[in-house]
């Protein structure tokens, strides 16, 4: 599904391209702790390795985030999902979609890939139980046509986890 949504995506605007190049350089100089950018020649799609923080439920586990940038990044939020298999977490669906406000309604151009990563790691680290969201099956079924998580109407009812 992710490849189809990326295929329909427009190329980066000039300003988005410049910004991402700067962001990538900054990432290479000081990557957020626990994350590794896997180098590709595609500036518009980053694949990032996430290591669960020591002392948390996800210690010694490695996952992959896929970040797709829209034409008007950073005015528009990037699309961020976990590649299969997604971590078992009350806010992460089995199709990799993440229920986290800053990826949707609360996105701001002041944020960066790095700040997103830190938020996602903090979300993982504060989890006390390894389980899927209650509505996982219904939601994933509704996404079968390849819907992007950015088209979902998210309810952010719980900011503790």
């Amino acid at each position: 599904m992710t490849s189809s949504s990326a295929a329909s995506r427009k190329a980066l605007s000039k300003i988005a391209c410049n910004r991402l190049q700067k962001e990538l350089v900054e990432w290479q100089v000081s990557p957020p702790a626990g994350f590794k950018h896997k180098p590709t020649d595609n500036l518009q799609r980053w694949v990032i390795e996430v290591n669960g923080a020591p002392g948390t439920l996800y210690a010694n586990e490695t996952y992959q985030l896929q970040v797709d940038f829209p034409e008007h990044y950073p005015m528009e939020a990037p699309q961020v999902i976990f590649l299969h298999p997604a971590p078992l977490h009350p806010h992460i669906y089995s199709n990799g979609h993440i229920c986290l406000d800053i990826l949707y309604d609360s996105w701001s151009p002041a944020m960066t890939v790095s700040s997103i990563c830190i938020s996602i790691l903090s979300m993982l680290s504060s989890s006390t139980v390894k389980q899927r969201p209650e509505d996982n099956d219904r939601y994933v079924k509704n996404c079968r046509n390849g819907r992007s998580p950015k088209e979902t109407r998210w309810w952010f009812h719980d900011d503790k986890v």
Binding site: S8, P70, S106, S108, T112, R138, R153
Partner: protein, 307 residues
Amino acid sequence: MEMQKQEGLLTDAEMESMTSVQASEVDDWANFKDNDIMQQQSAILAEEAEKIPFVGDKEPLSSLEAEYQSGSIILLEKIKVLSEQYASIRRTRGDGNCFFRSFMFAYLEHILNSQDRAEVDRITANVEECRKTLQSLGYADFTFEDFFALFLEQLESVLQGSEASISHDELVQRSRDQSVSDYVVMFFRFVTSGEIRKRSEFFEPFILGLTNATVEQFCKSSVEPMGEESDHVHITALSDALGVPIRVVYLDRSSCDNGVVSVNHHDFTPLTGDLPADAATVGGPEPINPFITLLYRPGHYDILYLK
């Protein structure tokens, strides 16, 4: 499903309004809550808002009167009072950015009309201070520099006599062009956020009065994201950071006890020079005549023009 037919043609703003339309696709109607209906209403409002350009044409104040023709007597009376002092209004889109958008246009238009180079030098120095503020707060340069550059470019272009100079018509066009207009709005959001964080002790009690959030949370959730509406806190911070006085005229249904209809206004007067942050509360600086006047109706700002 409408969603699929239009795929690929949607702008992000439309996408936002689409997300709530999905409520009607939910197969389980028992889960359809009041909240969904409210979301749908806000989607309809968002769609309505997009029919208005970011910045409209100048209209005579009588167009405001026409809006309330079958409505409140108090409002009509107040508009009559307004029309003694003000000649026209310029509307902005009600997309949550209307305060910043109104400020952007009113300020650049003032510079275009006045060609006040001293004012441009003054604000440019303040913009540089804002840049340092953000840096000292830990913002990476690449996150804000494009927005700063775009604002300074607009400022430069409204000054006449260079190759980059633009006419009033072009200023209107640029203010309606999302790739310019939204970047300048975001520039103001950076400036506002930086000022609030820099003087967090000053702003904290006001923010606690609005929400339960910390200064940091407030900036992250109510200042920096596009489309978040502005309150007194935002206006105070922007006015202080740039050193630009702003008059806000209030048009609401409140009436006075003595039965005489009057229209209230509030002047946001920036701190001057190196006055300590708390100087605003004790005495305050000399009154300055604001060259930016905005009309506030609950939830929305437009630009007002003096006669």
